[in-house]
Structure formats: structure tokens, C-alpha cells
């Protein structure tokens, strides 16, 4: 088994290779009563260009906080994040971010939702609509251009949210438990979407989830995080063959072995997080 398990792959990466470099990140929150909580502690992470990394950890472990820092939404208390060697200082259009919650604008049609990023960039209407229409068609949402989000199913809404980000053609995608609240079949369909998306575009993806199966299915590397204060516990390379399919990969004997291995590691954290509540 040691041939598939490679802890601390940091050694494989030279500084100049890493698309995203998280250096000694710490995040402390101060409550209104002056009490401080350490959310993230000494996180170091290097992500290569075109790599698909999944971050897994118990609920409330600060995974979302980490992603918010990476996306430039929160300034870290200590440490820095480098994108192509340059410190991320605030929001960058090179980054696409998909949040956990349903963040489609309910008063906009599918077309106008997909086009909003380009609209903000000041792209002329005809041009942004043609980009949006093409993405909609490619995602199998043709015919729903003029529908409102309230008329779509949960899975379709997620697809719209994904292509809304792709319309801006970011270099790197951050996804924060995007499929958390969906049923198993819809989830599987969307996982296949993401696998296909990565296969076609080879974008660097950081995918946060609490679902280990999902993480192994999608990623090249799974990063386990501890409960609060959150830090990286261990990392696993996932050498499963690509292109993968969400359904079939799961029955791969290698998959089962990996899952068992990582699950044992993760379990102790989940138990600790539960005990801490």
C-alpha cells in the first residue's frame, strides 16, 4: 500500500511550480466580548497548476474560513497566500469562487445570471449573452435561458452556478461544499460535470467538502484538516486513473482501499470535533 500513499508530497513541488502557495496561515477571530478563537493554525499548502485538490475535515473545522482567505474575502491574521508567486491582496478576477449556499440572483433569468460576471466587467450585452448562451447549451440547460431560478431543480441551479463562474474563465476554481445539500443521484451527476470540466479545461481546483467519497472521486490529492484550531493533519495522493466517472471509480478496488485508509485517519478528528461540542 505504501506505493499509493505518499504523505507530505510537498517535497515534489518546487516553489516556482506551485500555482497557489499558502504560507504559514493563521486566522484568529475576536468576538465582541474580546474573546479570541483560533480558527486556523499554521496551515502550509502548495497546489500545482492544473491540480485538483480536495480539502476534507469535520464540520465547523474552518475549511470555509480557509477558502475565504484563499479567495481574498478575509485577510489572514498571519501568513500569506501567493498566486503564481504574488501575494493575494483582496479579490482577484483570476479566481472563481462557488459558495455552499444557493447564490443565484432569484430575480434574474438563467441567462442573466450566467452573464452577470461579464456584465460587471463591462462586456457589451450581445457579447456576454452569446458567451452565456453557449455555456448554457453545453451544460444541457438549453431551453431554460429565460427561466428563473425558482423554476429550476436543485441540480440545475448548481449547474447554472458553475457555468456562471466559468463565464469569467478564471485560472483557479474554489468550491466550498457546493453539493452539500443535494440528493445522492444529483450529486453524482454534478460530480461527473466537475470531472468533465477538469478534463476539458485542466483548471486548478480547490474543492472543500466533508464528504470523503466525493473528495476521493474528484481529486488528485486529498488534504485532511483537524478540528479547531484547524491545521493540516495529513495529505494523500489519489492516483486513480483519469478520466474518471463518479459512479465507476467508486467500485475500483484501489478506491475502496484509499477510502478505508483515509477514513481511519479522519475518524479520530470527527470524534474529537464531536467531543469538543
Amino acid at each position: 500500500m505504501s506505493n499509493i500513499l505518499m504523505l507530505k508530497p510537498l517535497a515534489n513541488l518546487v516553489e516556482k511550480d506551485s500555482k497557489l502557495w499558502v504560507r504559514d496561515l493563521n486566522q484568529v477571530f475576536t468576538a465582541t466580548n474580546g474573546k479570541t478563537t483560533a480558527a486556523i493554525k499554521n496551515v502550509n499548502l502548495q497546489i500545482a497548476d492544473q491540480e485538483f485538490v480536495a480539502i476534507v475535515g469535520p464540520s465547523g473545522c474552518g475549511k470555509s474560513t480557509l477558502l475565504n482567505i484563499l479567495a481574498g474575502l478575509i485577510k489572514p491574521s498571519k501568513g500569506e497566500v501567493l498566486l503564481d508567486g504574488i501575494t493575494i491582496n483582496g479579490i482577484s478576477s483570476r479566481i472563481g469562487y462557488m459558495s455552499q449556499a444557493d447564490s443565484l440572483l432569484p430575480w434574474r433569468t438563467v441567462l442573466d445570471n450566467v452573464a452577470i460576471g461579464l456584465e460587471i466587467k463591462g462586456v457589451p450585452k450581445a457579447e456576454r449573452n452569446s458567451v452565456a448562451r453557449e455555456l448554457i447549451a453545453r451544460t444541457g440547460l438549453k431551453g431554460f435561458e429565460d427561466s428563473y431560478p425558482s423554476e429550476l431543480s436543485g441540480g440545475m441551479r448548481k449547474r447554472v452556478a458553475i457555468i456562471r463562474i466559468l463565464a469569467l474563465d478564471p485560472e483557479i476554481l474554489f468550491m466550498d461544499e457546493p453539493f452539500g445539500a443535494l440528493d445522492v443521484l444529483t450529486k453524482e451527476m454534478l460530480q461527473d460535470d466537475i470531472l468533465k470540466l477538469w478534463q476539458e479545461t485542466k483548471k486548478t481546483i480547490v474543492f472543500v467538502t466533508h464528504d470523503l467519497t466525493e473528495a476521493i472521486t474528484l481529486a488528485d490529492r486529498v488534504v485532511l484538516m483537524t478540528s479547531r484550531p484547524s491545521t493540516i493533519k495529513s495529505e494523500y495522493n489519489i492516483p486513480l486513473e483519469r478520466p474518471r466517472s463518479a459512479l465507476e471509480t467508486r467500485f475500483d478496488p484501489q478506491f475502496v482501499e484509499l477510502q478505508k485508509l483515509i477514513w481511519n485517519d479522519l475518524r479520530t478528528e470527527v470524534i474529537m470535533a464531536k467531543g469538543g461540542e
Partner: protein, 259 residues
């Protein structure tokens, strides 16, 4: 074959017409056979004739125009002011905290009682009525706008922020559309308040307008004219309400699901 829902509607409308006819007949016949005194309550046929005269001679139109002008100006200015102050206080929480008791105290004043003061300040013309209408509208809109602003999903704001939206774009593309349902709600109540403000202003001091017509006719014991003017006012209110409903259907289309 009529569907069940259509049949149901027909039944409801038939009953409504029946009840209205019965009430009007009691009124009409009661006056005709001297059960009630026409001096105090007039009678439907008289009111109807008076309405015909008012519209046929065209003498009512300038009064409708002036009252509508007062009410709509008050509505527009009050709404703009209310939305602006509501958004500003929503954005600057500390200012809202400081001003909260002051606003609540001002809100507690029955606004119509300020009428005589406004007449004193702005004279008998249209300006004083616009102010009376405006002040009621302002508070109603202010509270809707403030609540609307506070209820904008931070998640939606983050979404466009991450796409590089400026403060102005966030306001135009997220905050204002999010507040539309709240503002339409405010608009519906404001409409009544604006019309009432204009009419009460005319009661106090004016020489034209529907409110003036009511108070003038009642000073001459012309009950018929009082009631026909009130019929006109109700009709105007119904038309304005219908306009808001149309606006509702148009602006809140996204809320309707296809199912």
C-alpha cells in the same frame, strides 16, 4: 363544461352583486318612502345623477388633477427620501443606532396633526399638501427600505464582490433588486397615506381639490355632493391600487413558479 374554479368564481361574484344591490335598494327605497332622511344620507340615484353632472360638465377634472398632483408628488418625493435615508442608515449602523429613538419619536407623531403647521409654513397652495402627503410616505418607505436593506443576503453580495463588483454595482445589481418586494409593499401603503395626506390638507385650507370639494359641500349641507366626491376618491384609490398590482406582477415575476 365549466371548471370547478370558474363555477366558484361565478358564485362569489353573483353573491357580491346581490348583496350590493340589496344594500343600495334598501338605501334608495328607504329614502323614497321616508324611512330615512335624505338630508343626512342622500340617496343612490341622486349621487349617481350628481356624478353624471360632475363629469358631463367637466367641472370635477381640475379638482381630480390637483389632488392627484399633490398625492403623487408627495408619494414620489417621500419615497425617494425614504429609500435614501433607509439605505444610508442601513449602511451606517452606528448612525442608525444614534438616530433610532429620534426617528421612533418622530414616527410616533400622528402625521396629519402637523397639517395646520405645514399650511402655516408653506401657505394654502399645493406645497403644504405635498408636504403633508410626503411626511407620511417618508416614514412608511423608510421602514420598508431599512428592513429591505437589512435583509439583503450577504451571500449574494459576496458573490458579485468576488466577481469584482464596485459598491455602485452592488447597489444596483443586488441591493435594489433585493429590496423591490419590500419597496412594493411600502408603496401600497404609501399610496393610501399620500392620498389621505392630500385630502386632509385640503380639508384644512384650500380652494380646490377633491378634499376641498368634500369640505365645501358639507359646509353647504350638500350630502349628495359629499358622497359623490367620496365615490370618486374610492375609484381613484382602486385605480392606483390596481396600478401597484400590475407593477407587482411585472417586477415580481421571478417569484411565480411554473407549477
Amino acid at each position: 363544461m365549466l371548471s370547478a374554479s370558474v363555477k366558484n368564481k361565478v358564485t362569489i361574484y353573483s353573491w357580491r352583486i346581490l348583496i350590493t344591490t340589496v344594500l343600495l335598494s334598501i338605501w334608495e327605497l328607504g329614502v323614497r318612502y321616508k324611512a330615512f332622511d335624505a338630508f343626512y344620507i342622500s340617496q343612490p340615484s341622486e349621487i349617481f345623477n350628481d356624478l353624471i353632472t360632475l363629469f358631463a360638465t367637466g367641472e370635477v377634472f381640475p379638482h381630480i388633477a390637483i389632488t392627484m398632483e399633490e398625492a403623487l408628488l408627495g408619494l414620489v418625493i417621500g419615497t425617494i427620501a425614504g429609500v435614501t435615508v433607509g439605505f444610508v442608515l442601513g449602511k451606517f449602523e452606528p448612525v442608525a443606532k444614534v438616530l433610532d429613538p429620534i426617528i421612533m419619536a418622530l414616527y410616533g407623531i400622528p402625521k396629519l396633526t402637523l397639517g395646520p403647521l405645514f399650511i402655516l409654513w408653506f401657505g394654502m397652495g399645493i406645497k403644504s399638501k405635498v408636504f403633508i402627503a410626503l411626511i407620511s410616505v417618508f416614514f412608511l418607505t423608510f421602514f420598508s427600505a431599512y428592513s429591505g436593506f437589512k435583509n439583503v443576503s450577504p451571500n449574494l453580495i459576496n458573490t458579485v464582490k468576488l466577481m469584482g463588483a464596485t459598491q455602485g454595482q452592488i447597489l444596483r445589481k443586488i441591493i435594489i433588486p433585493s429590496c423591490v418586494p419590500w419597496l412594493l409593499n411600502g408603496l401600497r401603503t404609501s399610496l393610501g397615506a399620500a392620498l389621505l395626506g392630500a385630502i386632509v390638507g385640503e380639508y384644512i385650507a384650500a380652494n380646490s381639490g377633491l378634499g376641498w370639494m368634500v369640505s365645501n359641500a358639507s359646509g353647504m349641507y350638500n350630502t349628495t355632493r359629499v358622497l359623490s366626491t367620496i365615490v370618486i376618491l374610492s375609484a381613484l384609490m382602486a385605480i392606483l391600487n390596481y396600478c401597484v398590482t400590475l407593477l407587482d406582477n411585472r417586477l415580481l415575476k421571478w417569484r411565480v413558479s411554473t407549477e
